[in-house]
């Protein structure tokens, strides 16, 4: 492949810098959060996170080397491979935290549901690039819904409510921003929105609890409420300036079950205070806005949807995770993007960032 000088002149600097800033803060916080837990030791998990960060950066730059449009024909293939992984999890997977989510691969273990998020974005972008021009109707939305529903159901069965929810939400975001007519959303969404609370209300309290614990075994109803309280205390006790790096008391007492993964934000907020959380939130907002800007300048539908999908993954996970740790939303297992401990998630997000950069750098090609 010949290299074009325009790739250098149009190199996307801002997005990777923002992302890497979040990654560095995240790794530091993983170090702090795991310092107290004797089980793995701080160094092991932080080193592992550093390794994944390095691997992710390599992946991020590797996907810059080719035109993102070459991915379009293989998008469905990538999706199918990952889908096989997701479906294989119950059979060969490793159990962790009450559910089966990981596939062991030598010294590493991969979490196919994380890869699914990116693969679904690719598959949906590929699908829409082949649809007829013009506004999209219900018929164009059926295939994407099926593409979303199969892995979502498989992930839900692991059970991993959080990842399944993200897969669904991201798919809907792509449909919505990507051009399906709004009226179809109204037609599809209205009955669900109206009926769900009514049906929910008709269930008895213990039935509701049973459904919730079935969907999400981590969520012992009282235990979860307790964790949210502890998490809120941790966040709030940071006050303006925070208690200082490694000085958090709340997290060092092991009150939070997933303090280096799902509840990592509370550790960060405790140590860095309001100032720190504002910086972090601003970084996330900047990443999202930058992605939206790239999408608006992309030269084709595939590129647009690819970047929008990535933006969706980052946006929803960040908002839901922070919402959950601050008690705004129910507790579901969703990691904070670029921040939580977890190799599969970090790798996929960085590769996705690379794809967004790719779209940005090749926006003047025609």
């Amino acid at each position: 492949m010949r290299f074009d000088r325009r790739l250098i002149t149009h190199f996307e600097w801002l997005l990777p810098l923002l992302v890497l800033a979040v990654c560095v803060l995240g790794t530091m916080t993983v170090y702090s959060a795991t310092q107290a837990t004797g089980e793995h030791g701080p160094s092991t998990l932080t080193t592992r996170q550093g390794f994944w960060l390095g691997a992710g950066c390599l992946g991020m730059f590797a996907v810059l080397l080719f035109d993102y449009r070459r991915l379009e024909p293989v998008a469905l293939l990538v999706y199918l491979v990952v889908l096989v992984g997701v479906i294989a999890v119950p059979f060969i997977g490793r159990i962790g935290g009450g559910s089966r989510r990981w596939i062991p691969l030598g010294p590493l273990s991969l979490q196919p549901s994380e890869f699914m998020k990116l693969a679904l974005v690719l598959a949906l972008a590929g699908h829409f690039s082949r649809t007829r021009p013009g506004p999209l109707g219900l018929r164009e939305a059926i295939v994407p819904l099926v593409l979303m529903a199969i892995p979502a159901a498989a992930i839900l069965a692991q059970p991993d409510l959080g990842s399944a929810a993200i897969v669904g939400i991201v798919a809907f975001t792509m449909l919505l921003v990507g051009g399906v007519r709004l009226r179809w959303f109204a037609a599809l969404g209205a009955p669900v929105i109206v009926l769900a609370p009514i049906m929910w209300r008709h269930l008895k309290a213990y039935q509701q609890r049973r459904i919730l614990t079935f969907l999400n075994p981590d969520m012992d109803p009282l235990g979860a409420g307790y964790h949210v309280i502890q998490s809120k205390i941790a966040v709030g006790s940071g006050m303006l300036w925070g208690k200082g790096f490694l000085q958090g008391t709340q997290n060092h007492l092991n009150f939070l079950p997933e303090q280096h993964t799902d509840f990592i934000f509370s550790v960060f907020a405790e140590e860095w205070g309001f100032v720190g959380t504002m910086v972090l939130m601003t970084l996330y907002l900047a990443i999202i806005l930058r992605c939206l800007l790239i999408a608006s300048h992309a030269r084709d539908r595939f590129g647009v949807l690819l970047v929008l999908g990535m933006a969706g993954i980052i946006f929803w996970q960040a908002v839901i995770n922070v919402g959950m740790t601050t008690g705004l939303m129910p507790v579901v297992g969703i990691p904070l993007p670029f921040f939580s401990y977890g190799g599969s998630s970090l790798l996929c997000l960085l590769v996705g960032t690379g794809l967004a950069m790719n779209v940005s750098m090749r926006r003047y090609y025609f």
């Binding site: 829409f128 690039s129 921003v177 109803p221 309280i229 966040v235 709030g236 709340q250 939206l292 647009v304």
Partner: protein, 631 residues
């Protein structure tokens, strides 16, 4: 444009893309503003409050274990209840000087320090700030002492928890079972919602019906002060009590049976032959389940487990005994059905018969003379049944014994139920890889040799004979009720099989069994109840090998003495109760030892049904001379 063209793909940008992206930007701003406001609220507005909460970690989670379901007998008497008990809970993080606190605690409880220290050390994986239960069920003095000296005991608190209570102590202990702390293995199964330290059913119906009995745990979020005392409840998830069970057991009759058996070892089972309901299930020696409820001490447990009499075993379903002469009913049924005997068949008994190089004795040394089929049962003539055994062979005997429920699990649904042994040629080959010797048939014909059965099987056996050949599944559970009364499940009689005996056979058996009790020459006349026709069969099963002098062994060591059996049903015309009773190592025959016990139960049962239950049981004096060795 340089390079190869990628495949043709639609370049069409989605319509209104710019508008949609503007909306997306707005949504992003809105969402992050919301999060920002939330962070401002938590970290600045309520920051100081949260900081102080974080300093002492004042929020605690207290689990409220759901109380277990109550168990009633058939008339509504409470057999298993719950009572409040006070547990001492200790949160090590709440005290500066742990040793001093524990020292004080040991002092106030009158306990030794090492045992308290041991309890603190025990749980390895404990989340910080979660209490350790140091002592369960502290007595009132302990409660008062701890409440008064709370300031000396930072981190120590009292927790009220429901504790299992068995109001009648050892009554029906084996059927009811007991509870104990769940062990790691049960937790690993992950089936139940148990946590370490919870009490779960470990034996009897407490175990078999644990899923119904155990409630659903709730919990409380409480704020505590610096000493670990609760200030207020922040949030509460109410616990749900378990389901209520109503048994078929008759508490009143059970008590009569327990008293009748007294201090002897053995078992009694009474069934309703019309539907298989268990009215009485006694196993002695028993234990008091209350010691399990409060947390059994190590020495108490050791004493129970190491007791050579195995008080924890439920003899009614786990004890396998040779049925002795009670088994002759099965042999008689086989003989009539197979046509090797008719009511007019008679055999001459001269005190025994030679077979091979062995002399098989009748229990009556002088012999019975000429005995008819009827007399053979009434007087339990061994020689008659040796002859029947020879004529039948072992396999038909085994077939009819199984039709009447022996050698098969009764399906009562209690743990470790044994099936006993009904030997036949196939069994012998499988078990010993040997052919059947016809001499062994003679032992089988009088319920000795390899033949064994549990008391429950014998009760179901006599119930099946009594009701005309219908084998019911014995049932001790009548009804399950949800705690809020919304849901009720009744159990129904379940027929496991039909013996398919001819009416004439049944009539013969009933008439002969009636005369066992009602005729003056019968071996079971001590079971007579005034005004009621009782049918029965005595049995004396040998513990030592055939041929040894029974007189001598019965005066010797307890372990070599005979077991005394009595099986009965009444009234003969329309049976409503069937009983099997065994007294282990009784040192006497079934007629002398077991029949009077059954008599007391029957007398009480019928005195109640014919008058007010308060009426004292009629003590029917058995007329006629006492036979020193009634079989």
């Amino acid at each position: 444009m340089p390079g190869r063209h990628p495949p043709v793909i639609s370049r069409e940008i989605p319509p209104d893309l710019q508008i949609r992206i503007v909306v997306a930007v707005a949504v992003a701003y809105l969402a992050f503003s919301l999060v920002g406001v939330r962070l401002w609220y938590l970290q600045l507005e309520r920051g100081a409050e949260m900081r102080s909460l974080s300093e002492h970690n004042r929020i605690r989670l207290v689990r409220l274990p759901g109380s277990r379901g109550v168990v009633y007998d058939r008339h509504g008497d409470i057999l298993i209840d719950n009572r409040p008990s006070f547990d001492v809970v200790f949160v090590p993080e709440d005290t500066r000087d742990r040793r001093k606190t524990l020292q004080n605690l040991a002092h106030y409880l009158g306990d030794t320090e090492p045992s308290i220290h041991q309890a603190v050390r025990a749980p390895s994986k404990r989340p910080p700030y979660e209490g350790i239960v140091l002592r369960r069920d502290v007595d009132w003095e302990g409660v008062v002492a701890l409440e008064t000296h709370q300031l000396d005991l930072p981190g120590v608190s009292l927790q009220v928890v429901p504790r299992r209570f068995y109001p009648y102590g050892p009554l029906a202990a084996h059927l009811l079972g007991y509870v104990g702390e769940v062990n790691e293995g049960e937790l690993r199964d992950g089936v139940s919602s148990y946590r370490l330290g919870d009490l779960a059913g470990k034996a009897g119906l407490e175990k078999s019906w644990d899923n119904d009995l155990h409630g659903t745990a709730g919990g409380e979020e409480v704020e505590v002060d610096a000493l670990g005392r609760r200030v207020r409840v922040l949030q509460q998830v109410p616990d749900m009590p378990g389901n209520t069970l109503t048994l078929t057991l008759d508490r009143d009759l059970q008590e009569t049976a327990e008293n009748a058996l007294g201090t002897s070892d053995g078992a009694i089972v009474a069934l309703d032959p019309r539907n298989g309901e268990v009215l009485v299930m006694v196993s002695h020696p028993a234990y008091d389940a209350n010691i399990f409820a409060r947390g059994i001490r190590r020495d108490e447990w050791r004493a129970l487990v190491q007791d050579p009499k195995h008080p924890l075993n439920n003899r009614a379903v786990q004890g396998q005994f040779p049925p002795g002469s009670t088994f002759k009913i099965a042999v008689a049924a086989a003989a009539l059905e197979r046509g090797v005997a008719t009511p007019s068949t008679s055999v001459s008994c001269s005190g025994g018969i030679p077979f091979g190089n062995h002399f098989f004795r009748c229990w009556r040394k002088g012999g019975h003379g000429t005995v008819s089929f009827h007399t053979a049962i009434v007087q339990s003539c061994d020689v008659f049944f040796y002859t029947m055994g020879q004529r039948l062979g072992v396999d038909p005997i085994a077939e009819y014994a199984r039709r009447l429920g022996l050698g098969l699990p009764t399906g009562i649904g209690l743990e470790h139920e044994k099936t006993g042994t009904i030997p036949d040629t196939q069994w012998k080959r499988r078990r010993f890889d040997q052919p059947w010797f016809s001499g062994e048939t003679l032992s089988v014909a009088i319920g000795q040799g390899y033949v064994t059965a549990t008391p429950l099987q014998m009760a179901n056996f006599v119930a099946t004979v009594a009701n005309g050949g219908t084998r019911y599944r014995p049932r001790y559970l009548k009804r399950i009720d949800a705690p809020d009364g919304t849901n009720r499940t009744e159990t129904a009689p379940e027929i496991l099989g039909q013996a398919d005996l001819k009416a004439s056979t049944l009539a013969q058996l009933h008439s002969a069994m009636r005369d066992v009790v009602m005729n003056d020459s019968g071996t079971g006349k001590k079971a007579r109840v005034v005004g009621i026709e009782v049918a029965g069969k005595t049995g004396t099963s040998q513990v030592v090998t055939m041929g040894q002098d029974r007189e001598r062994s019965n005066k010797g060591a307890e372990a070599t003495r005979d077991h005394a059996w009595f099986i009965a049903f009444a009234p003969v015309e329309a049976p409503e109760i069937a009983i099997a009773c065994i007294v282990e190592h009784a040192g006497g025959g079934g007629g002398a030892i077991a029949a009077p016990i059954v008599q007391q139960i029957l007398a009480h049962y019928f005195s109640r049904s014919q008058g007010p239950p308060a009426a004292p049981p009629q003590q029917a004096a058995a007329p006629g001379r006492e036979t020193p060795h009634a079989f």
